[in-house]
């Protein structure tokens, strides 16, 4: 498969403390979002932050991995719901670091049993490129629950 390139832009006016920025999805045009440092470290006030965008990226990456693993095992999902919480903390001597990403997944998968679903979730965790990437410097956990399969 060819290389895939995706692009985003931010324009920032003024200093970090008092200024503000607008983040744009240049490739797709899917979003244009306000961002400030206060929204990053204090109260979000309806503005996004790099960490929130990473949480959205990880949840999106995991959901596609889980779906493809379930399909590979012959039990394609009807519906999946994934939540991701990214934690940034001040680490002594290293400044602010992204220390943890917690994934919670629920899925409706007709015909699935618990063991096969658990196998798919483990494979999704291993196969999601974003999980692999940030495991180098942060902890990644996942919790997957099978809901109301027939």
């Amino acid at each position: 498969m060819p290389r895939i390139v995706r692009e985003a832009d931010i324009e920032w006016e003024g200093t970090t403390a008092r200024g503000s920025g607008v983040v744009r999805a240049t490739s797709s045009g899917a979003f244009e979002l306000p961002s400030t440092i206060a929204s990053r470290v204090e109260i979000h006030e309806g503005k996004t932050s790099p960490e929130e965008l990473l949480a959205a990226a990880h949840a999106t990456c995991f959901v596609t991995s889980l779906g493809s693993e379930l399909a590979r095992l012959g039990i394609p999902p009807e519906r999946m719901h994934v939540n991701c919480t990214i934690t940034m903390d001040e680490v002594e001597g290293q400044g602010h670091r992204i220390v943890h990403s917690a994934i919670t997944a629920r899925a409706v998968v007709p015909g699935a049993d618990e063991a096969t679903f658990a196998e798919a979730a483990a494979a999704a965790d291993g196969g999601c490129p974003f999980s692999a990437l940030i495991r180098g410097t942060a902890t990644v956990t996942y919790e997957a629950t099978l809901e109301g399969g027939s």
Partner: protein, 142 residues
């Protein structure tokens, strides 16, 4: 400590199904559509994990650079940053290329390049993406 949360739902198979980034903690966006086709081929106004990572890295880098410049006594008037993320299916993210153009009163080109290089080193998203083989920055005064 700061926690950031996002919720995503998906229906159907990977190739034919589709999903939605339903909500994020700040509420600044909701209902962003996602598909595998958008991720690997035609985009059609749908976002992807790699585009969100590009947005996260461009944002983080801009904040770090702005902070560094202010700390050096030359706060920027404006910064415009783009991040290009290269994703190879089966391999992962192989490169992030940052480009920044800045209006910084009282700073010369070499000083701006040095500040940009320091910002790449210091930004928390760069540190989180340390496993990416190549992270580059092209910095110039506007």
């Amino acid at each position: 400590m700061a926690d950031s949360t996002a919720h995503v739902t998906w229906s159907g198979s990977l190739l034919e199904g589709s999903g939605t980034i339903e909500s994020v903690g700040s509420g600044v966006f909701s209902a962003l559509p996602i598909t595998w086709r958008a991720r690997t081929g035609e985009e059609g106004g749908k976002t992807t994990p790699e585009e969100l990572i590009a947005a996260a890295h461009a944002s983080c880098f801009s904040m770090a650079l702005s902070h560094g410049l202010a700390g050096d006594g030359t706060p920027p008037e404006s910064l415009e940053t783009s991040a290009i993320v290269t994703f190879v299916p089966g391999t992962g993210i192989t490169k992030v290329a940052l480009t920044v153009r800045g209006s910084v009163p009282g700073l010369d080109a070499a000083g701006f390049v040095a500040a940009a290089e320091a910002a790449v080193e210091n930004c928390p998203v760069s540190k989180a993406l340390a496993a990416v083989p190549e992270i580059t920055v092209d910095a110039a005064l506007a």
